[in-house]
Symmetry: C2
Subunit: 241 residues, 2 copies
């Protein structure tokens, strides 16, 4: 059995040639030839069944055979805003995992106790594209570059807003309980802090801007595990049956 | 502020000397000295506050100052039985994450479509010990070595038993719905298959032995992500508030 081939091609229906980064894989690795079938994911809700019309050294031309519009498998809009970890591979791992699990938007925060003050978005984007293809997600999530914590929380935002922190002395609700009380189509934004947590100032500032403090449960989690749990909880609460 | 030091010492109350693997860290890395305080985790539900009585090149002696019995933060017994992935680092990553999230027992299955037919348990055990310390888990989870799928499912087992698989044509319940219908103290065992899934024969055999088929949701997940989701769902359903 031939494994189905999936390529990520934004606006696939407005082109007839694979982009350069996918061409190498199609022509050199998979050795596709005229007449072979493959699937194009446009990252905007449609998967296209297509056929190779010409495959040469550096070009792979196609024609679309059928448009297959997909349905979203969860409700609302899941937005994770997280302070990137010092070790970049922990963030990369998390991005792969939350893409498989399913989210809509990720933002990266520069916080008071952040150990990482700069971030290379293109590498994370490549990891997400790869996981989108592997897990066949019809929608490409949106990634936003590093932004200061105070700028982020000042941005207007639809739906429910939570800040996850570890201070025992600041009262917190359970995130999963809160998620279950949310209307299905309501957007959710969850903030997850750096290795050293948010500062109490940051928690206070977020609360002043409408973020409610939450806990991710009884466990002491690393930053990347906390980010993944926030997305898992959102997905479980918002999945369509 | 000095960070609190945690050491994993089984039967800590029956000894007065750190084991060799922890001594190096205590004496050479942290440079603990007579009178310094640390915490000993016995992996069986108690954390001990202790004091260094002697620290020399290769020995670190202690006396226990106070026993701090811990309470479990979730109900029942969470058992994940999974076919290890071809790339061992994916299993190592998963073991770290499920330790942080919280589980009780893990078993490894040799399945028809397994790409990995042997497993070095000591390395996984070291990763779990490290995550137990980092996430301050009072109980050390139990790890069982690789076993054939058919031997595993024939073992008698308490509580609810599920097999997660991806065959659309074999009816499946949603694992999280099932977990929520389970009595709080009931043990749960969840089987997760290899990259190529369980064979339909294996699914049938498991069903004959009382395993009910379940789905982990609408997403196409890698094996290690599926294992982590199974533990996350169990933890969310069984956590104490």
């Amino acid at each position: 059995m031939k494994e189905a081939r999936y390529f990520y091609v934004p606006h696939a229906d407005q082109s007839s040639e694979l982009p350069a980064d996918e061409t190498h894989h199609a022509v050199r690795v998979l050795r596709l030839q005229r007449g072979d079938e493959f699937f194009l994911m446009d990252g905007a809700g449609t998967i296209y069944r297509a056929e190779v019309t010409l495959a040469s050294g550096k070009h792979c031309m196609y024609k679309i055979v059928e448009a297959l519009p997909q349905s979203k498998t969860w409700n609302g809009h899941i937005h994770l805003a997280i302070a990137p970890t010092k070790m970049m591979e922990r963030m990369e791992w998390m991005m792969e995992k939350i893409t498989e699990i399913g989210f809509d938007e990720a933002s990266f925060l520069n916080c008071k106790f952040s150990e990482r003050k700069e971030l290379k978005l293109p590498r994370l984007e490549r990891i997400v594209v790869s996981a989108v293809k592997q897990s066949r997600k019809p929608w490409m999530p949106q990634l936003n570059g590093l932004m200061s914590f105070s700028d982020f929380i000042r941005q207007p935002r639809q739906g429910k807003k939570w800040i996850a922190h570890c201070y025992q002395e600041i009262e917190r609700e359970d995130l999963f309980d809160q998620l279950q009380q949310t209307a299905p189509n309501e957007a959710v934004t969850i903030l997850v802090g750096p290795e050293g947590d948010f500062s109490t100032e940051e928690v206070r500032l977020a609360m002043e801007h409408g973020y409610e403090p939450v806990s991710l449960g009884n466990s002491r989690l690393r930053t990347e595990t906390a980010g993944m749990m926030a997305v898992s909880m959102s997905q479980i609460a918002k999945r369509k049956s």
